[in-house]
Symmetry: C2
Subunit: 191 residues, 2 copies
């Protein structure tokens, strides 16, 4: 019972941290704020996260990254064509931006940029998530087949465009950069 409760408070802290990191980054989000806003016991934080803030950061990157990967996989499986898959992926990202008043774009880009030079565990955790998203996008582009080298290459280009568009959308407080990606996607997908 106590173990279960501790596991839950760890999960709650990770989820809240991921949310705050997406909105304003790793450095601006203190451990005390995560504890307070997640409603988790202060005393158990370093029991749950012996590695402190960096461990919380790594887990938050994995959690947020895993959620997005799962979402991409659902869209990949439910789309009839590469074009429909990319449209639905853009639609999901647009919905996330709008629901959060442009606070939530890429769930890990801010943390990744902040820590790429200063924390090897965080850099590495972010790199694994980007690679997982690229694989998931490649599956969506391959339309249910095993992705080929071309699909993986294209998925990388799609991911870079999406990351750039999410940055521009947050900064511009408009979804135009994302919703305008259609023509670029079509040119890239054409052989």
């Amino acid at each position: 019972m106590a173990v279960k409760s501790r596991g839950r408070s760890r999960e709650q802290a990770i989820e809240k941290a991921a949310e705050l990191y997406a909105e304003r980054g790793f450095a601006a989000t203190g451990v005390a704020e995560v504890i307070e806003k997640s409603g988790t016991p202060k005393g158990s934080f370093y029991f749950n996260f012996p590695g402190g803030k960096e461990e919380l950061g790594v887990e938050a990157v994995r959690s947020a990254g895993g959620n997005l990967e799962a979402g991409i996989n659902v869209l990949a499986e439910s789309s009839d064509s590469p074009a429909a898959f990319l449209d639905s992926l853009v639609g999901a990202l647009v919905a996330g931006l709008e629901a959060s008043d442009y606070s939530r774009g890429c769930p890990i880009a801010t943390v990744a940029l902040e820590t790429a030079t200063t924390s090897e565990p965080l850099r590495s955790a972010a790199g694994e998530q980007f690679a997982a998203w690229q694989r998931a996008i490649a599956r969506g582009i391959a339309g249910g087949d095993e992705p080929k080298a071309d699909d993986r290459l294209l998925a990388g280009q799609v991911l870079m465009l999406l990351e750039g568009a999410l940055l521009m959308s947050r900064v511009g407080r408009t979804t135009d950069p994302l919703t305008g990606l259609g023509p670029a996607f079509r040119k890239l997908v054409e052989d």
Copy 2:
């Protein structure tokens, strides 16, 4: 003389701040560290920056953004073709990453993502720089002519790809995402 010296210490603080923001972001870079590492007088900081850290941030975004814009303009003027322009732009960004051991990708993306939700002056300053880069890239694509609507659209796509590639390059500690953009650029530029 005193005024000139104060102007110089303001510039030095702005340059050092821009460098640190590019490496690890706005929140992780304290004013005290900027003062110390720029070798500027502590006592004059709030005289030079009455708006404090946020003002320093806005000036750093403008300074770093203006430097990149000027660099893009030089490449635009010295390139024979849109393809040569894009190659030289990628080359300049690769050189920056390598010279800094992958610490410096986009000079303002980290700050922009960190502050888009929390600081209207910083969000707005970053937005102006992205718009200026897009205009400069459009001129490079137009090959010296006045950019048309298509050039501006394409410049936006190029900028998004570059931002995504710089993110992936920093996180992956490899320039492959940037140097691999050639095929995507060629597909986008083709009519």
